[in-house]
C-alpha cells in the first residue's frame, strides 16, 4: 500500500500531500519535491519522441533503498506522485495503475465540486477517505 500520496498542481505547488508514518513527514515531502524533476524530464521526453501513444501513467520515477516513487500526469498537467514501500513486493504495475486511476477519478470529482476553487488545497473529505483506503497499513 502507498506510504505517501501527493497531488501537485500545474504550477508545481502541492494541492494535497499526506503520508502514513506521521513521524519524518519532511522526508516524504522532500522526496516528492525531488521527484518533480523526474516527472518534468519524462514529460519533455514524451514531447520530443515521435511516439504516437502518449500515456498518462509515467511509471516508476526512481527507486531508493527503502521506497519506490511512481508518477502520473493528467491532461491538465496535474501530477500525482505516490511513494510505496520497497519491501512490499506484492504490488504490481497494474495495481499501481488502478490506484492512479482511482486518484484521477476522485480528483475529477473534486474539480466538479462547485464549492472547490481550482488552485486551492484539496479539503474534500471524500478525497481524504479514498486516499486513506489506499494507505491502509500492513502492520
Amino acid at each position: 500500500m502507498a506510504v505517501c500520496v501527493a497531488v501537485i498542481a500545474k504550477e508545481n505547488y502541492p494541492l494535497y500531500i499526506r503520508s502514513t508514518p506521521t513521524e519524518n513527514e519532511l522526508k516524504f515531502h522532500y522526496m516528492v519535491h525531488t521527484s518533480l524533476d523526474v516527472v518534468d524530464e519524462k514529460i519533455s521526453a514524451m514531447g520530443k519522441a515521435l511516439v504516437d501513444q502518449r500515456e498518462l501513467y509515467l511509471g516508476l520515477l526512481y527507486p531508493t533503498e527503502d521506497y519506490k516513487v511512481y508518477g502520473y500526469v493528467t491532461n491538465s498537467k496535474v501530477k500525482f506522485v505516490m511513494v510505496v514501500d520497497s519491501s512490499n513486493t506484492a504490488l504490481r504495475d497494474n495495481e499501481i495503475r488502478s490506484m492512479f486511476r482511482k486518484l484521477h477519478n476522485s480528483y475529477t470529482d473534486v474539480m466538479c465540486n462547485p464549492f472547490y476553487n481550482p488552485g486551492d488545497r484539496i479539503q474534500s473529505r471524500a478525497f481524504d477517505n479514498m486516499v486513506t483506503s489506499m494507505m491502509i497499513q500492513v502492520c
Binding site: 514524451m46 491538465s76 475529477t108
Partner: protein, 159 residues
C-alpha cells in the same frame, strides 16, 4: 445520457433571469450580465476540461487541444461536432458552427440578431474554461452573422 433540451431550457432561463430585473440596463449593466454568464461558463468549462479527457492519451500540441474542443467537448455538450475549425497558425482559431443548438429554437435568419450575443456568452466561457484547465490561456469571443450559425474566435494569449 440526459436529454439535451434540459440544458437548453436551463440556459434560456439563466439568460432570461439576468435580464428580467432590468430589461434595458444600459451598456454597463449589459456587460455585467454578459460577464456573469461568461464566468459561469468558465467554471463549468474548467470542470469539463478535467472530466472529459480522462480516458484519453495526453495531448501533444495546441492543435490537438482545439480538435478535442471541436469534437469531444461539443459532442458532450451539444450532441454534435463543430462544423469547421480554421487557424492562422499564429495563435488564432475560428470555430464555426452552422446550426448552434442554443440558437436553433430562436430563429433562422436575421431576426433577433442583437439578442444573440446574450446566448453565446456562456458558451464562450465554457471554451475558455476548458482551455484554461488544459493549460492554454485564451480570449474567446463569439459572432453571429445569421442565426443559427455562429463563429467562436479563440485567441491564444502568449506572454
Amino acid at each position: 445520457m440526459a436529454d439535451a433540451v434540459l440544458f437548453e431550457f436551463l440556459h434560456t432561463e439563466m439568460v432570461a433571469e439576468l435580464w428580467a430585473h432590468d430589461p434595458d440596463p444600459g451598456p454597463g449593466g449589459q456587460n455585467m450580465n454578459l460577464s456573469v454568464l461568461e464566468s459561469m461558463g468558465f467554471r463549468v468549462g474548467q470542470a469539463l476540461g478535467e472530466r472529459l479527457p480522462r480516458e484519453m492519451l495526453a495531448f501533444r500540441e495546441e492543435l490537438d487541444v482545439l480538435k478535442f474542443l471541436c469534437k469531444d467537448l461539443w459532442l458532450a455538450a451539444f450532441q454534435k461536432q463543430m462544423d469547421s475549425l480554421r487557424t492562422n497558425h499564429q495563435g488564432t482559431y475560428v470555430l464555426q458552427d452552422n446550426s448552434f443548438p442554443l440558437l436553433l429554437p430562436m430563429a433562422a435568419g436575421l431576426q433577433y440578431l442583437e439578442e444573440a450575443p446574450k446566448f453565446l456568452a456562456f458558451t464562450c466561457g465554457l471554451l475558455r474554461g476548458a482551455l484554461c484547465t488544459l493549460g492554454i490561456e485564451s480570449v474567446v469571443t463569439a459572432s453571429v452573422a445569421a442565426l443559427p450559425g455562429c463563429k467562436f474566435q479563440v485567441v491564444i494569449q502568449n506572454s
